[in-house]
């Protein structure tokens, strides 16, 4: 169970390689990686603001909730803040479990909660100006399935 909130980028290959390495009690590893996407509106960069006094704890609570609901061998959450260029990594989640259904469901649960319950706010700076990303109705709906 690891949570890292950082401005620096991370090496997804190294993180995945190191995660649950050589553990023969774990049959399934799922990872999710979020990437800054340019949806064709000339994104210059994304700015991620967060609430430093709250972020780490809020994410650890979400992770603990996942560990209660599913049989997990391990989990890892990395979330960046600060300015990010298109194509850069924003965050990643990894789950390891004896069975694939647990690993998949826990990863989706973590993502749904990170989207709407971890104190991050994204702003997009495009060639036409800047705007805060609005929370989506569907992201709030996604929480209701858990």
């Amino acid at each position: 169970m690891t949570v890292r909130v950082q401005q620096a980028t991370f090496d997804i290959g190294r993180e995945v390689s190191g995660f649950a390495k050589g553990r023969s009690d774990v049959g399934a590893i799922v990872t999710f990686t979020g990437v800054v996407r340019d949806v064709g509106d000339g994104l210059r960069h994304m700015l991620i603001e967060h609430y430093p006094a709250m972020t780490q704890n809020a994410i650890e609570k979400i992770e603990a909730e996942a560990a209660q609901r599913w049989s997990l061998g391990d989990s890892l959450i990395i979330h960046r803040f600060g300015p990010l260029e298109p194509g850069e990594l924003i965050m990643m989640v990894a789950t390891a479990a004896p069975h694939r259904a647990d690993a998949f469901q826990a990863a989706e649960f973590l993502m749904d909660y990170l989207k709407s319950r971890a104190p991050f706010w994204k702003k997009e700076v495009t060639r036409n100006g800047e705007a805060w990303v609005c929370a989506k109705e569907e992201d709030e709906d996604a929480l209701r399935r858990w």
Binding site: K115, S116, R117, P119, F120, K122, W132, C134
Partner: protein, 82 residues
């Protein structure tokens, strides 16, 4: 005395990230009402509280929550992590 912190467009609209306030407000809603009376920029930022979220001492909370013993209140729009 209570620390009030703002994030994202709430911070931008109010024009500062954090302030220390002398208040007798017993709930978040009372604190909001008090802030709105201060200046138009506060009134604008808090005009639609359904568009806002609040945390009391770094725990997600709601506008009815008590401020008894609270040290920090944060106001921000719905989160967009992940």
């Amino acid at each position: 005395m209570i620390d009030v912190v703002y994030f994202a467009w709430v911070r931008e609209r109010i024009g500062l990230p954090k302030e220390r306030i002398e208040t007798d407000a017993r709930t978040v809603a009372e604190l909001v009402a008090e802030l709105r009376r201060r200046e138009p920029r506060y009134d604008a930022a808090f005009a639609d509280v359904s568009a806002l979220r609040v945390a009391v001492d770094q725990q997600l909370s709601d506008f009815d929550a008590s401020l008894a013993g609270a040290r920090e209140v944060a106001f921000f729009p719905p989160m967009t992590g992940g």
